[in-house]
């Protein structure tokens, strides 16, 4: 994967929508025209939750509208910074640095992009799905997992996914509307969802594909490290190309402090410490796990 060198903007962004969802999850829409204009799938925003905080908080861009000038993130309260963010109301201003980071790269010979999102790792998969919309050569499938209520109403999919077990029908409506097949997984017994983990449904689907389709699979994943490890292992078993979107604590988010690194391997040997903010957040899975 390549490091990113595109311009980054510091914008004083206005909160235009802030919707509280189940289980302390929120969708925050910011008016930030430059971030919206330059955002690509995989990029994130570095948000000032409170001016008194030394460190901003990184959040993946879920959607953007370059024409209307907004960007959207989906986040969950996990600590003080995200709790302060949740207190922001429509009309509030907040400092927003972005878009930061590299992007997912869909290979030329890919026919079946497989998008795997776990929990608050779902947002970059939605952005990636949007970029794949309406591409006649591609047959994407998004598998999204959550152990807390999904941050959207779920409903039976209108799009067939013949290689997924029949009873697994729950989908994300937005992706359905975009014509992109999606299926949901959880251990919580939510209706229509696959009972198991994201990578388990992914493997079932993959094994049901015919040989030609299998050759065109490329995997993209974002979620907790345990999930990404399992996904990488599944991809290794089947020699599938896989890109993962990582998280690490950040200070500068522009590559200046080397605070956000992850050990990076080549041929099973640790060769470098890569900065998640600018060398990532998207990496080839084989170099990380």
């Amino acid at each position: 994967m390549e490091s990113e060198q595109n311009p980054i903007f510091e914008e004083c962004a206005r909160v235009t929508h802030h919707d509280a969802l189940a289980a302390q999850q929120f969708v925050l829409r910011l008016s930030a025209p430059e971030c919206a204009r330059h955002a690509k799938a995989g990029n994130f925003l570095h948000l000032q939750c409170d001016p008194q905080r030394a460190l901003r908080r990184p959040f993946s861009i879920m959607r953007c509208d370059p024409a209307a000038g907004w960007v959207e993130v989906l986040y969950k309260i996990v600590g003080q910074g995200s709790a302060e963010l949740a207190a922001r109301k429509s009309g509030d201003m907040l400092q927003c640095l972005g878009p930061v980071g590299n992007t997912f790269r869909v290979h030329e010979n890919t026919t079946h992009p497989l998008l795997l999102g776990g929990g608050v790792g779902i947002p970059p998969m939605i952005f990636l799905a949007e970029t794949l919309r309406g591409n006649p050569g591609l047959h994407p499938l998004a598998i999204l997992g959550s152990e807390i209520p999904f941050p959207f109403p779920t409903r039976p999919s209108k799009i067939l996914a013949p290689d997924v077990p029949k009873e697994v029908i729950a989908a994300m409506p937005l992706l359905d509307d975009w014509g992109i097949a999606s299926r949901l997984t959880s251990l919580q017994g939510y209706p229509g969802c696959f009972h198991g983990y994201v990578h388990e449904l992914a493997e079932r689907w993959f094994l049901n594909l015919d040989h030609a389709a299998q050759k065109g699979v490329q995997v993209f994943a974002c979620g907790p490290n345990r999930m990404l490890e399992a996904v990488s292992e599944f991809c290794r078993r089947h020699a599938l190309p896989c890109q993962v979107c990582l998280e690490e604590y950040m200070a500068c988010a522009v590559g200046g402090c080397a605070g956000c690194v992850v050990p990076y391997r080549e041929n099973n040997r640790m060769v470098a410490m890569k900065r998640v903010c600018v060398d990532g957040p998207v990496f080839n899975a084989a170099s990380i796990f």
Binding site: Q5, N6, P7, I8, F9, E10, E34, Q48, P51, Q52, R53, A54, L55, R56, G81, Q95, L97, E248, Y249, M250, A251, C252, V254, G255, G256, C257, A258, G259, C260, V261, V262, P263, M270, A272, M273, V278
Partner: protein, 318 residues
């Protein structure tokens, strides 16, 4: 470049267009922040590059950062590509017409400090800052900078191999910073950076482990500002007779923070963690300092340096 003549300062032979200096370890090798629209290296008088060692180093395992009240801890561990790569590959790509670039020399032995300095001496770098806060591997791993004699030995070794301005970056983690400063002046230091980070720890109550993989790290940001101000004041007393200048640093985020350091005795002021709060803070601080000069009627920032009026009747009632 700031063209306000009131901000032009002379710093141990370097002509700085502004007293603002970007601090080592926070701004990579000088170009990373320039991707931010509206950020320019011209807005500061100098930039201290990332700590550089003789050989490439990968640095510490993550997590390397932890946020704390009014600041943060870092334990990066001197990740850098080694002095040869810095001189051969990085320095040629820097635009020396925009600002002054200062190398930050680090090492595990006195010999390593000397060799890194020698290599930078034969390069276009404008000045050399010695980061004496690294552990001395030959003598039990105590940081050189915690001990005046070890500090002086490092300075002496570096002085012997360069004519470039030599700035010693003093550690707050010691008993008497004044004595250390004295010894470093005798050893040939041209200037000081005061202070480096204060050692600290953050603990995760759930895992009962330190947040940093290195267990401990350096505290920076507003949390250390009062400590830093006192240290600058103390070192200034030692430096004043020798006309040795100080880059005051530790927790500068806003204009008044910078001005406090100038008043305490700093000729230049450093910004590190402040950039994490606000990557465009330098322009705001510069504007604020201009207003301060306007309002106070002072004609130049030099007039602010060391203008502290101590309480002379500071006695304790018994």
């Amino acid at each position: 470049m700031s063209d306000d003549h009131r901000f032009k300062v002379e710093f141990c032979g370097l002509q700085l267009s502004s007293p603002l200096v970007l601090l080592s370890g926070c701004v990579g090798f000088g170009e990373e922040y320039t991707r931010i629209q509206g950020f320019s290296n011209r807005d500061v008088g100098a930039i201290c590059l990332k700590g550089t060692t003789l050989e490439p180093r990968l640095g510490n395992a993550p997590h390397r950062l932890a946020e704390t009240t009014d600041g943060m801890l870092n334990a990066i561990g001197l990740q850098n590509p080694g002095v040869e790569a810095v001189v051969q590959e990085i320095l040629p790509s820097l635009d020396f017409s925009q600002t002054r670039f200062i190398a930050n020399v680090s090492g595990s032995t006195v010999e390593e400090y000397r060799e890194v300095t020698r290599r930078f001496d034969d390069s276009p770098i404008d000045a050399i800052e010695i980061n004496i806060s690294c552990p001395n591997v030959k003598e039990g791993g105590v940081a050189f900078g915690n001990d005046p004699e070890m500090s002086a030995r490092v300075v002496e070794a570096c002085r012997a191999v360069t004519q470039k301005p030599l700035i010693t970056k003093l550690s707050p983690n010691q008993t008497d910073i004044r004595h250390n400063a004295k010894r470093c002046i005798e050893a040939g230091s041209d200037a000081f950076a005061v202070i480096n980070t204060v050692m600290g720890m953050a603990i995760d109550v759930e895992t009962r482990q330190p947040v940093l993989h290195n267990n401990q790290g350096g505290l920076s940001g507003p949390a250390i500002k009062p400590i830093a101000l006192l240290k600058v004041h103390e070192v200034y007393q030692v430096c004043k007779p020798h006309k040795i200048p100080i880059i005051g640093q530790g927790g500068i985020v806003h204009t008044n923070d910078a001005i406090e350091f100038l008043i305490a005795g700093a000729t230049a002021v450093g910004i590190g963690t402040g950039l994490f709060y606000d990557p465009l803070c330098c322009q705001k601080i510069t504007r604020g300092m201009a207003e301060y000069l306007d309002n106070t009627g002072l004609s130049h920032v030099n007039a602010v340096t060391g203008s502290l009026e101590m309480h002379t009747d500071a006695t304790e009632y018994t």
